[in-house]
């Protein structure tokens, strides 16, 4: 069967199981909440899919989310204090969050292309640096005092569960999917992940392509930071801690191979729903919230294990 269809069935089965255990799960309030959790995760998982398909990994997505949330919160607080309108403050927030994320991504690109670090180490460094920087900037306390009404704006639902930020995220993810699967940019991303030497031999400028990929990954993480800010009404250094785990999990559950060259964004989107759905479901059926990371780690192990098994059965044919 088609892998995406299979994943969708897993998602449906998950909804059924949680609903049977506690019928409250099947409600637009719970779905709206899952969607709000899904927004930042799917942005980072989309970034992660691009990077992993190219044969790399980006551990800095969560820290980039935190840093851009904090910096844009500080910028919005300044602008609000100077008497500007909520709309112009939010617009500035989006721009600053995107720019900070982009900067983190460019640093990754420099570390990988110029300093010649492997992506794992390069992004581990920026992950630590970005988290540290957000703690330095805030002293560890959340930054509030931004535009009034941002929470009301971002939590107003249409059709019972869709908010404006969720609609924006959906548009971004669809555009990223078209970009990855239908354009030359996407084709080169797969080629580099599949065989970097062949890509070079075909005249592709691998370095410049990797800059674009990591920059895009940072940008998407920065926008995820703005999403979280709008949801909570404050920016916090800790808001991205551990989120890289969820982003990698969503991509891997969706069928993206950590070896590079393989993956579909539709799978990642469903993978992100499975992750966020499981976390909400566990809380609703009464599992303590502290188990969350254990569950995500187990999901990664199961997904990667299943990929290995299906590869072996392919080879055995």
């Amino acid at each position: 069967m088609d892998q995406t269809a299979l994943l969708f069935l897993v998602l449906v089965a998950m909804v059924v199981v949680f609903t049977v255990i506690n019928p409250i799960f099947f409600s637009s309030a719970v779905f709206a909440n899952i969607l709000q959790d899904w927004g930042p995760i799917v942005l980072m998982a989309t970034a992660q899919t691009l990077v992993i398909v190219s044969g790399g990994i980006d551990l800095s997505v969560g820290a980039a989310l935190g840093l851009s949330g904090v910096v844009s919160a500080l910028a919005m607080r300044e602008l609000t204090a100077s008497g500007q309108s909520a709309w112009s403050a939010m617009l500035l927030g989006v721009l600053v969050a995107g720019a900070v994320g982009l900067a983190v991504g460019l640093v990754n690109g420099v570390l990988i292309n110029r300093v010649k670090l492997v992506p794992f180490i390069a992004t581990l460094c920026t992950m630590g640096a970005a988290l540290g920087l957000s703690l330095v900037l805030t002293g560890g306390t959340p930054v509030a005092g931004g535009p009034a009404g941002s929470i009301q704006f971002s939590s107003k639902t249409y059709l019972g569960m869709f908010t404006v930020p969720i609609i924006v995220v959906t548009v971004i993810v669809v555009a990223a999917g078209l970009y990855l699967h239908k354009t030359r940019f996407g084709r080169w991303t797969y080629a580099i992940g599949s065989n970097q030497f062949a890509a070079r031999g075909a005249g592709i400028n691998v370095e410049s392509h990797l800059y674009k990929i990591y920059a895009l990954s940072g940008l998407l993480s920065g926008l995820a930071g703005m999403f979280v800010y709008l949801r909570l009404g404050s920016g916090s250094a800790s808001s991205g801690v551990g989120q890289e785990l969820s982003a990698i999990a969503a991509a891997v559950i969706g069928g993206t191979s950590l070896l590079g060259g393989v993956g579909r964004l539709a799978g990642t989107v469903i993978g992100a729903f499975i992750i966020t759905g499981v976390l909400s479901g566990l809380i609703i059926i009464g599992v303590q919230a502290n188990w969350q990371r254990v569950v995500i780690a187990a999901l990664i192990a199961v997904a990667v294990g299943a990929q290995g098994l299906s590869n072996e059965s392919l080879r055995a044919k």
Binding site: R184, F185, R187, Y190, S194, N195, G201, G203, I204
Partner: protein
Amino acid sequence: MTTAPIYEARNISKNYGSVVALQDVSLHVGAGEVLGLVGDNGAGKSTLVKVLSGVHAPEAGQLLLEGVVRQWDSPHDALELGVETLYQDAGLAPHLSVSANVFLGREVVKPGLLGKLGFLAQKDMDTRAHEGLERVGIAVPASKRSVTQLSGGQRQAVAIGRAVSWARKVLILDEPTNHLGARQAAEVLVAIRAAKAKGLGVILISHTLPHVLEVTDRIVVMRLGKVVADAPTSEFSADSLVKTITGVLDARSGG
């Protein structure tokens, strides 16, 4: 042969740190000529290929394409001007389809606005990849199949077909018949003759001396980073070629 060279290397030297890989190497190939480049492991053939194809810049010496001095900053520069290289065992991206590999780096985009955004004309490329491979005499697997699903011989056939169909002036083949069965190797030789008939200058690097003797017009022998012989293929026998490569028979002057 007295045709003017289409591609020429003059006095090329290249070091890796303190190791001298190429020392004052000169060679040339004419349009419609097949040049064999042979030598033992470590003779410098692969390094020379990388200089000719723009992967490495030489420390000294010149490259002349159609008599014009060229400097390659990247393989892309060489490709742009019609110098196509098939690298040893590294030709294809296995997760991509046959047509995606044939068009890798030269993707055709849709007309109009979508094309400006980089959207691919996939159907067009599938059809043209199939036609292009067929034209150079390669038994073609379906364009849409992933390279992972092809046998080693089929992969090599696609890689060679790709190189032959794109090359406009010079075609460099590094060990194209490695790991191939007799029938597939014969197909490769057919493709080389097709390239010659197309008027390309072909440089064939190979350890399989019978293939070299069969398909080339002239042979350059390298040993320890230097050219030790450069003579028409007709002047070599299998025996004398081996002796020249190993150094038992020294410095032929070419007849």
